[in-house]
């Protein structure tokens, strides 16, 4: 089967990309790998029938987020220092968490099963009802903008919050502040 072959190739490339990103110290390369990871995941999402998500992941992960990271590197530095501490504790945390997730998947229905709860639950209702209740072809848009439109309102709120936050942090052009003033008196009262 071609599809299985594609999937195996994509999966292995994804895993390898992620693992290489751990080792690489050249931050430019790390950012590029992250972009490649997003692009590969977008391809995988296409094979999983999630066209909308793939489109977004490609635009965001491989596009805007890579641009922002590169912009940040240009403003900061481009090499990672070797961390001084031993990574045992993180390794334990990660292994325990991973084991917990795998434990949780043991009772999950097989991949692609058409009769799993996820498929027969509300999802089936969306597919059955949206043609006559919403009347637009793209079910994802129908659910996104109408049935669960409030989530999307919240999502816009999150984006707006991020915008406000970035402006609050970086707003206005200013020369670099003088440093070494851990708790000096506030001279910028206005």
């Amino acid at each position: 089967m071609i599809e299985t072959g594609i999937n195996i190739a994509l999966f292995s490339m994804l895993v390898v990309t992620a693992l290489v990103a751990v080792r690489l110290r050249h931050l430019f390369g790390v950012v590029m790998l992250a972009g490649a990871f997003s692009l590969l995941s977008a391809l995988l999402l296409v094979t999983l029938d999630a066209a909308d998500v793939a489109f977004t992941e490609a635009a965001v992960g491989a596009g805007i987020s890579t641009v922002l990271m590169l912009g940040t590197l240009a403003l900061t530095s481009r090499r990672e220092k070797i961390p001084s501490h031993r990574p045992w504790l993180p390794l334990v945390v990660v292994l325990v968490t991973g084991a917990a997730i795998i434990y949780g998947t043991l009772d999950m229905p097989d991949f692609g099963a058409p009769d799993s709860p996820a498929q027969t639950g509300v999802a089936a209702e969306y597919i059955a009802r949206s043609p006559h209740e919403i009347g637009i072809p793209n079910i994802v848009t129908a659910v996104l903008a109408s049935y669960r439109g409030y989530d999307t309102l919240g999502e816009v709120g999150v984006v707006f919050t991020a915008g406000v936050g970035v402006l609050l942090l970086l707003g206005g052009l200013r020369a670099r502040r003088r440093r070494g003033r851990p708790d000096g008196p506030d001279g910028e009262e206005g």
């Binding site: 805007i64 912009g71 403003l75 919403i134 637009i136 439109g149």
Partner: protein, 146 residues
């Protein structure tokens, strides 16, 4: 920094094409993958591209800071305002049937168009604002160092 002529001309053409694509994605989201968010991102990319080649000042002449900051908020108001309209007509918040009580389907379509528009405006506004904020900082690494 002044880039090569070919780069500048093709950027202008490309930015226009990208914007056109953004509008297609925005308004065709009912029929195919895409919608306000993707359109907003693509629109922002067009401006980022323009800014990268022509410089931040040139980009900000086309779309001043004040405008993009207000775009961020405007989109949220459009979206949430749609909800208020349905609320004031006695329907539940964000019930698009309120927009066309006679024909619920038309109301839904209109509602989706409105809110997706709101999403697009906010996302484009935020992305461009973030780009302006980052690009406005003095760089630490020179071009050669990459």
């Amino acid at each position: 920094m002044r880039h090569h002529l070919i780069l500048r001309v093709s950027t202008k053409l490309l930015a226009g094409a990208i914007m056109l694509f953004a509008f297609y994605v925005q308004f065709h989201g009912d029929y195919s993958p895409g919608g306000g968010f993707q359109a907003g991102v693509i629109l922002a990319v067009a401006f980022v591209l323009y800014g990268l080649v022509y410089g931040l000042e040139a980009a900000q002449e086309v779309l001043p800071r004040r405008v993009v900051h207000r775009m961020m908020a405007l989109g949220v108001l459009v979206y949430a305002g749609t909800g208020v309209v349905s609320l004031l007509s006695g329907y539940a918040y964000l019930d698009y049937n309120a927009l066309n009580p006679g024909m619920p389907e038309k109301g839904q379509e209109a509602g989706i168009l409105l809110v997706e528009g709101g999403v697009g405006i906010t996302v484009a506004g935020v992305m461009i604002s973030v780009y302006y904020a980052f690009a406005g900082r003095p760089p630490r690494i020179s071009d050669e160092e990459w």
